[in-house]
Amino acid sequence: MAVGAVTKPVGGAKIKSAGSAISPLLGFAMFSPAVVYIALLIGAPFCLAIFYAFSDARIGGGPLHYVGFENFRSILQSPSFRSALKNSIIFTVAAQIIVMVCANILSIALEKPFRGRGLVRYLILLPWVAPVSLGTIGWKWILDSIYSVITWVLIWLGFVNKYSPPMWLGQEGLAITSVILVHCWRLIPFSTVILLAGRSAIPKEIPEAASIDGAGFWRTLFQINLPIMTPILGVALLFGTIFTFTDLAVVNLLTNGGPYDSTQTLPNLAFTQGIQGSDLAAGAAISVFLVPVLVAIAYLMLRVANRAEVV
């Protein structure tokens, strides 16, 4: 070190001074857009929501009063809120189970090279690339009570009576199934891509060694490949959970919570009560109700991501 300093004193000094003059400013400049963005578009509304949740705020209303936990007490008593909470959980869990199974199957199918694999991978990714609202409007047509192609096909195949076709979005059970289906449609591409990456990161020799050790397809899948992919599976699962749990567009466009709140979710209820129903305080309370759950999920997600680096 000493020798280097003696032979190249000028260069060393120059680099050091230039570095100390520029780096804090440059660092700050590069960092600040993100800070401004998060502060204005996430931080401020979040603080405002907490503030409103403890007040009697209404859209266009007059002075605000502090009401304590009154908003929370009242939403907890509302049947809409209870079914929204229940549905949010059902949709999230059911969609994640289906997504994980399908994404695994797809990632296995897409792993080995075959003619046209690039095209298939591209097509599978499309639902994720398309805007949620556009995709959902498409599904609204597919599931429409009069124009549904699914109904049309089922009638043609003779499974369904022409004069009493299923109301995909108008009957309780079918509406719940339809919402879950659309969530799956949207999330499967995302999870497939993540799992495909995780799967191709496993050295080829490991499943080969398993096959020589005598393991068949299922044993290799469940005892070797999937356990090795656990961190990646965790990432896909937690992202999927957050996307489904906080999603407003699908339910809002497809059923708007109906029929009779049977597909109501917390984000949609917050939106209809808070914005459309002008009861800002209740909407805020419903939104804030999600925070502890999401914080726990985010914490888990970070832990899983950390563990992923080790393997």
């Binding site: 050295p203 020799e205 490991i206 080969e208 060694a209 398993a210 096959s211 020589i212 050790d213 005598g214 393991a215 068949g216 044993r219 005892q223 070797i224 356990p227 090795i228 656990t230 080790v310 393997v311």
Partner: protein, 346 residues
Amino acid sequence: MAVVETRKLTKVFKQGELGAVNEVDLETREGEFLVFLGPSGSGKTTLLRMIAGLESPTAGEILIGGKVVNDLTPRERRIAMVFQSYALYPHLTVYKNIAFPLKAQNVPKNLHKEKVEWASSLLGIGGLLQRKPRELSGGERQRVALARAIVREPSVFLLDEPLSNLDAKLRLSAREELERFHRRVGTTTIYVTHDQVEAMAMGDRVMVLNKGVVRQLGTPKDVYDDPADTFVATFLGSPPMNLVENEGSIVGFRPEHFRLSEDIKESAKVVFKFRVENVEYLGAEFILAGFLVGGKMDGKKVIARLLLGHSFQIGMTYDFAIAERHLKFFDRTTEKKMAARALTWQ
């Protein structure tokens, strides 16, 4: 234990191109340690993977224990394989890694512990059973891979360059250990390597491959002393055999047989003038590089390897000789071995 046999075994990856393995005929002997030796791309690993069942042959047959196994899965072939990267299961402890083949082959659970302990004590890793692979050193991983291979008592062992990931010092002791291990278990073993020293040291027989073709199959002494062609002659030995063109044939001699004329007591010897161009002192020996002077072989570069006890000066010419029985002859076009003949070069 079993004999592995291949008949006209061929693997072509891309149609129209030269195969990675071409019509290989091979038969191991019971309990033998057979080495596939060749440079990278010679097809040795592909050949091994076909025997293991990880790669399906384009043509030809593979027999294990006298039974054609072409259509059997790796599991049904009852073989064990150690990979170059060891391919340990990273999420399982050493114990579970070693027990995995037992579990996969439905060995009764009450026998697992005993067998794992037997395999791990054989390789001296009894103390590591609760560790994960990432907590092990390279040498320990290799032993775990071996233990996992032996625990099921396979009929054949396939080893794919298992020492190449170890550092030079460890490689030597691991090699000795493998030799001892093979002597103890006596299972037919096929070992793939590109390292000629490993091949010579470990193999009962060595099969030299190049471009998917078997060049020679024989004992280490056979392939070294009596190479079948110029490829085998130059691939084995360090420095490699000197090859000099003379009168329509190629004359070959090992650097260690090219010595000072006065040191060769035999009368049947060929004497050359050798001008030394470079001297490397390697502690136990000299490596001399230079060229022959005079006659038809004037100016041909050759290398000599001598034990200590002499001193040489760069630029000087010395009288060197080769005993006639150490001269090898190869055909100039086919590069195959020819019968010995008198060497006229003057």
